[in-house]
Amino acid sequence: MRTDTDRPGLVGSSVKRVNDPRLLVGRGRFIDDISMPGMAHATIVRSTIPSGTVTSFDVADCEALLVLGVDEIAAATRPIPCVWIAPGQEQVEVPVASRQVRYVGQPIGIVVAPSRAEAEDAVECLAIDLAAEDGVADSLQALEPGAPLVYPERGSNIGVEFPIGDPSELVEEAMASAAVVVSRRLRIPRIVPSPLETRGVIADWNPGLEQLTVWMSTQTPHHVRDHIAHSLRLRADQVRVVAGDVGGGFGSKEHLYADELLVCLAAMRLGRPVKWIEDRVEHFTATFHGRDAYHDARLAMTEDGTFLAIHTSITGNLGAHFSNVGTGPFRVSAVMLPGPYRLPVAGASIRAVFTNTTPTGAYRGFGMQEAAWVRERLVDEAARELGMSAIELRRKNMYRSDELPLVTPTFQEYDSGDYGRALDLVDARVRAYAPAPPASARIRQGIAVATHVEFTGLGPSKAQDIVGFRLGGYETAVVRMEPDGSVFVSSGVMGMGQGIETTLAQLAADRLGVPLERVRVQLGDTGVAPYSAAGSIASRSMTVGGGAVVRASTALREKILRIAGAKLEVSPSDLELVEGQIHVKGDPRTGTSLEELVTRAWLGLDLPEGESPDLECKYVHEPLNISYPYATHAAAVSVDLDTGQVAVDAYWVAHDSGVVVNPMIVDGQIMGGVAQGLGIALFEKMLYADDGQPLSTTFMDYLIPLSSDVPTMVMDHYETPAPHIPGGMKGVGEGGTIVAPAAIGNAIAAALPEIAEQILETPLSPGRLWTLIHKAGLHDG
């Protein structure tokens, strides 16, 4: 990685991650690694039909420690609240169990036995009758007259409809006035998040203390705690959620599932710990999916390619019920549709549709990947129609850095940056690229770019409230210097492989002048961590959580310098704290050892008037704005005309995510994100039969990228600090995934101009491409 602001000190340094040695020797503590005396094991009973009714649930022949069926579960629980409510959304909570089943995988019971194998055996002995009805999986089919209704009482499968951005009259006026309007129906299929570690939970009820402890693989411990307490009618203080190592989340572990509540309920009933580990087949059907939207999109421009307006009509598939985030991804697609371009008019209409499929929720990129696919494909198609270079067309329409900050027609307050510079950097890389000529005349090569601006770091709480997202947007950090001079950092954000334990430690160590090894970051335990409403979602851990650590560490440093100043009889502003020593700036011979000062402070000694003895500072960081990183990506692909197979030969990224705390980790986030985007572009699609029966339920029929699929990437970074985030960081967790499908799709279109206008839907699998190539006559002669 190259950055153009090299700073001394720990911030900006590629230090090795603090957790890795443990993970490398097999001493991680993932949920299934935990075992407890007396622990029993659960299996969740699930609907095997997409639509119908549970007519009986007979446990007579079932040998198990405990069986709970739909009615008992429903009676014992309150519905789980939705947290993102769209205007007009009537369904604002979801029952934990119901006799009405609406998707394959819906939980309808739980069986607990001494071992997992015995629990699975016991499920086989249950007598469950399901009365099947017709189901529907596709959101457009669900809107056709006569389609099966997911909620017959509603009279239609439309869950909710609402517009975003400029009013339709303004949009239509702009479209009518344009010389060129590129109009396409694009589709982003359903993605299965697929962290390598599935979900899992262990619950233990202490009847004496009347306290439930829940170990869980989750991105959002406090949020999950609140919903467990709500659904089980407990007080929040009766529930403690502890997350250990999390083997990837990508959005799928950002909320409470009914499954996890069933395990808690079982543990309370049995009075012993109960463990449940999701198996991979369950992950394909019971964990919320991502994406699944059709976009009827238009991009309008003048003859010379000046953009005038963009609009999309989104038909989004909700699945069987509103997930916790409901229409959130469709809304974010709409608000981020304009991207980095000067678009005087922009808007969207959203129609969210119920189907007999697993609910759709958060997955890395959250609506923005869809927006990038739609916008960037339209821009490349526009360039083709205008006969312009796609890079020139972008350059012409991108906001210049002197136009920022500004508010887009979809209400985004873009903060800072130089969007064109990322484009220029990638353009230079692409120009310098000299690919080996194709091995045969049947191989086509193509190179193209895609670009975006991203919404990271949810978010000012008030802004979240305006869009109906009912979780506070702040983060809190507690930073304490212990009597021996070591440092304890506690935050409500969560580690799930992104290295946040290391980067938060870097921020604290940097401000406090202590070596990294002296800092311990504690996350994931609601019994210890300060309250975090939203947890680690939306690329917010570093911006919002890190900003809190910056401020709390700075406050602690100031306190230490005040104490030292009193002791040394100099002004605190004349002191510096370097490598465990406090001395007058530029004069290392003067001063005092940090450790000695700290030890005496905790004894209540040597304190100036009015200073308390605790060396602990807390800061609640309510960000002033979303932060907006951005990037340009380019892909070089080869397409085999005879097989439809695509190889990504080279890949470039130029990126600005504000101040980079650890360049190695930032690179890793982008590489991993691009790999997931490559999966979307070429392989991944959750398949359903028309009636809602799932067809992809293993890694043999749902393909995620392998090492041989993912090229070595070349990256350029530069830094425009986020003006309103302490420390200047912007989020970096999702950008790779957001843009990569569009870059690869555009490159495939560039390789195959004959079918470019039909490159509208991912995955661009060999089967899909071969068919398009064949229809275009490229197999003739």
Binding site: K16, R17, N19, D20, P21, R22, L23, L24, V25, G26, R27, G28, F30, D32, D33, S35, S115, A117, E118, D121, S194, P195, L196, E197, T198, D245, V246, G247, G248, F250, D279, R280, M496, G497, Q498, G499, M664, I665, D667, G668, M671, G672, G673, V674, A675, Q676, T698, F699, M700, I704, P705, L706, S707, S708, V710, T712, M713, G736
Partner: protein, 160 residues
């Protein structure tokens, strides 16, 4: 289906002799994790695709979710716990740390054992990177840094 642990096995796990009674249906992965208590071997798919559960049986990388515990009677099994310690990482583990070859770390033990097995079988770096590594799923890293780590490990001339 029986739940009786009626099969007696003797196996050497990480140089320690283990005698156990197992059920016929017990997977090697479950045996290692839950009976022997070596939770470094991870299970991510239980259908033989992801490679997270890879261990060495008589020096051969195998997917322990596709093998029964009863099948390792008389065999030598090596898991990730046999490689290095937190204070004394193996050269491969050190390379993975230095190159940022892991994020969540869930896939990592399986990959380490495949590379280790490849080294023991005398594969060269190209074979390990191009043939063996694509037998593993990693959802986090994008693989680039894993490849770098393997290359750096082999470049250290550790074949001896």
């Amino acid at each position: 289906m029986t739940g009786e642990p009626d099969i007696r096995i003797t196996t050497t796990v990480n140089d320690v002799t283990v005698e156990a009674q197992v059920e016929g249906r017990t997977l090697l992965s479950d045996f290692l994790r839950h009976d022997v208590g070596l939770t470094g071997t991870h299970v991510a798919c239980e259908h033989g695709v992801c490679g997270a559960c890879t261990v060495l049986v008589d020096d051969q990388p195998v997917r322990s979710c596709l093998m029964l515990a009863a099948q390792v009677d008389g065999c030598r099994v090596d898991t990730v716990e046999s490689l290095g310690t937190q204070d004394d990482l193996s050269p491969l583990q050190s390379a993975m740390w230095a190159e940022h070859g892991l994020q969540c770390g869930f896939c990592t033990p399986g990959i380490l054992m495949t590379v280790e097995g490849g080294r023991r079988a005398g594969l060269d770096v190209r074979q390990v990177v191009e043939d063996a590594l694509p037998g593993h799923l990693c959802r986090c890293t994008g693989y680039q840094n894993i490849r770098n780590a393997i290359e750096s490990y082999f470049a250290q001339g550790v074949q001896a």
